[in-house]
């Protein structure tokens, strides 16, 4: 009883004090709140916001022997005149299309399959995700060893099965697909687990109803599974396309970046090449701006189409 009497007046007094406190304490409260923010804001300012602005400035500048001059559209003209520019974009689009075929479809069907299993799901999940956790250098250099046309494991297996071997990374026809295969092995775990979580959210009654209507397995996938996971599918599709367009590490580690006759050259590798092999930061920044515009344009169109199909 005494407790309540003691606490009561204080609680009652708080709303009463409020207006006075906000006037005199508002400034102090705000300063203190910004004090909590200052560390993160400083890091964002230095390493995100400022570089974003600087990216656009650098695209129109050239630095020679410590002298930075304004060169206008010269950098852009320079990069589009480089034959590597078109090759890099062609390859990057090719990577993206192949990644859609392999990196997008394979994890989805693996997830659909795993979701049906009543046993061993935990084990299979760990298996699929294990490569994602490996240091990239380990998995890619391992694949480089497997891809060796002479003693590599893949050709040995093909020979064992009496199939003709392939030159994998060493030939301009197969280098790009080899990079995509390795990259799919390394990265499919993340998407698979996300799809699995989405599949587990589908209400069972929908399958029940479809089955009563006489829908077979494939029609159930088409009419229940895919529409029910549509949102997550379309988000991951966009994220995956944006990520694949920025492909760098796998190609860099597997073929040194450009590969036989530039067959694995990507746009991000070209940016790296301009800056760190030719010391031309202006052209690198200009190419970065082109990439930003392409990705932003693509994402915009994608989201617009997405909304239109949803309304229709």
């Amino acid at each position: 009883m005494t407790d309540i009497i003691e606490v009561g007046p204080i609680v009652a007094a708080v709303p009463h004090q409020r207006p006075r406190r906000t006037r005199t304490g508002g400034l102090r409260r705000n300063v203190r709140a910004h004090g909590f923010l200052i560390g993160a804001v400083a890091c964002f300012a230095l390493f995100s916001w400022y570089p974003m602005i600087r990216e656009f400035i650098m695209a129109f500048q050239r630095t020679k022997r410590g002298q930075t001059t304004w060169v206008g559209w010269t950098n852009l003209q320079h990069i589009t005149a480089d034959p590597a520019f078109w090759q890099a974009w062609r390859n990057t689009i090719m990577y993206t299309l192949l990644a859609l075929l392999l990196g997008f479809a394979v994890p989805f069907f693996v997830a659909v399959l795993l979701n049906e299993f009543r046993h061993g799901q935990a084990y299979l999940r760990i298996l699929v995700y294990l490569p994602v956790m490996l240091p990239q250098v380990a998995s890619t250099l391992l694949f480089r060893y497997f891809y060796d046309p002479g003693y590599g494991l893949f050709n040995q297996i093909l020979h064992f099965l009496s199939l003709p071997g392939s030159s994998w990374l060493a030939s301009k026809d197969t280098a790009l697909i080899s990079v995509v295969l390795a990259s799919t092995w390394m990265n499919m775990g993340g998407a698979t687990l996300i799809y699995l979580a989405a599949l587990q959210g589908i209400p069972g009654e929908l399958y029940e109803a479809a089955e009563l209507d006489g829908a077979g397995v494939f029609r159930r996938i088409w009419h229940v599974t895919i529409p029910q996971t549509r949102l997550i599918l379309s988000v991951l599709l966009l994220l995956q396309i944006v990520a694949t367009m920025q492909m760098f590490t796998e190609a860099f580690l597997l073929t040194g970046g450009s590969g036989p006759e530039g067959s694995t050259l990507t746009v991000v590798y070209l940016i790296y090449n301009y800056a760190f092999n030719f010391n031309n930061f202006g052209s690198a920044a200009a190419l970065g701006v082109v990439m930003l515009v392409v990705l932003a344009g693509f994402s915009g169109v994608y989201l617009w189409l997405e909304r239109r199909t949803k309304e229709a």
Partner: protein
């Protein structure tokens, strides 16, 4: 798992004799294929380290090392400077983790609970960075790190070049803020009435309630540093300062194949152990972060 909700194939269909046979055939096949596809390469890597230089490039290859020997492992440990690289990677990951926990948590707490003027603008600007592809910013970020504005310090080859940019992680701040938003406001008021300062409230009330999200963010922070390649390649050019990813790749040329493979195994072991210990948190964090985010 037994009494789960129904999926694509119904339980009754599976318990019919034909369904049972089909189920176990497919199940067995998938387990075999997945084990082969995902463990096979790792098996080849670990055993490759036990083979001699001759055997590792032998044609046809051997399934088991003929005369297992650990020479390649000791050579890899020495030649690839493994102890140094491993220490560096753990040091960078640990530092990034501490800095992110301090600054991202503080920022998310301020944005969620203290709500200063312009707080929403700051949050908006932070989230905006998620839409800019990381590869595009690499060049201006590098130039900034070489010559930090105002103070004119060069961060190249220092841990700060890894640590400070890692704090500018909008996704982690967003995850933390969303979690803090779900902590009832009444608790904050109660703490304020008891005379607790905002810092004290954060420490004694918000943080103890936020263990799950702190776990998720910590795992993200460590894994990001562990896996990153392009950024450390640019800012850590001194071989004695490099991470595992960059260092092993730099030393990989002109090294014997079996020593290199042994080195790759050594580089993978800590990651595999980390994964097996935290697999539940890693995998549920992945889906929690993406599905609702």
């Amino acid at each position: 798992m037994a009494a789960q909700t129904r999926t694509l194939i119904s339980q009754t269909q599976l318990s019919r004799p034909r369904g049972k046979v089909l189920y176990w055939t497919i199940f067995g096949l998938v387990v075999a294929v997945f084990t082969l596809v995902f463990i096979g390469p790792l098996y080849w890597m670990v055993t490759g380290g036990f083979k001699t230089t001759q055997e590792v490039i032998q044609n046809p290859p051997t399934l088991f090392p003929q005369h297992p020997q650990i020479d390649a492992y000791t050579a890899a440990w020495r030649q690839l400077n493994m102890a140094r690289l491993l220490f560096n990677t753990i040091y960078y990951a640990g530092g990034a983790l501490v800095l992110q926990l301090v600054f991202c948590v503080a920022a998310a707490y301020a944005l969620s609970k203290l709500r200063p003027v312009l707080g929403n603008v700051i949050l908006g600007l932070m989230l905006m960075t998620l839409m800019v592809p990381a590869a595009v910013l690499i060049i201006p970020q590098y130039v900034t790190v070489v010559d930090l504005p105002i103070v004119h310090v060069n961060l190249l080859n220092t841990p700060w070049a890894i640590w400070l940019p890692s704090v500018a992680n909008a996704f982690n701040i967003f995850l933390l803020k969303r979690f803090f938003d779900s902590i009832p406001e009444e608790l904050m008021h109660a703490a304020a009435i008891d005379g607790a300062s905002p810092l004290r409230t954060l420490w004694s009330i918000v943080l103890p309630m936020s263990r799950p999200i702190l776990g998720v963010v910590s795992i993200f922070a460590v894994v990001a540093v562990w896996k990153d390649f392009l950024w450390p390649l640019l800012v850590l050019q001194d071989p004695s300062k490099q991470t595992l990813n960059v260092g092993v790749n730099g030393l990989a040329v002109g090294i014997q194949q079996n020593v290199l493979i042994a080195g790759l195994t050594l580089a993978s072991v800590p990651a595999i152990i980390f994964f097996l210990i935290f697999q539940r948190g890693i995998m549920s964090g992945l889906t929690a972060g993406s599905l609702k985010g």
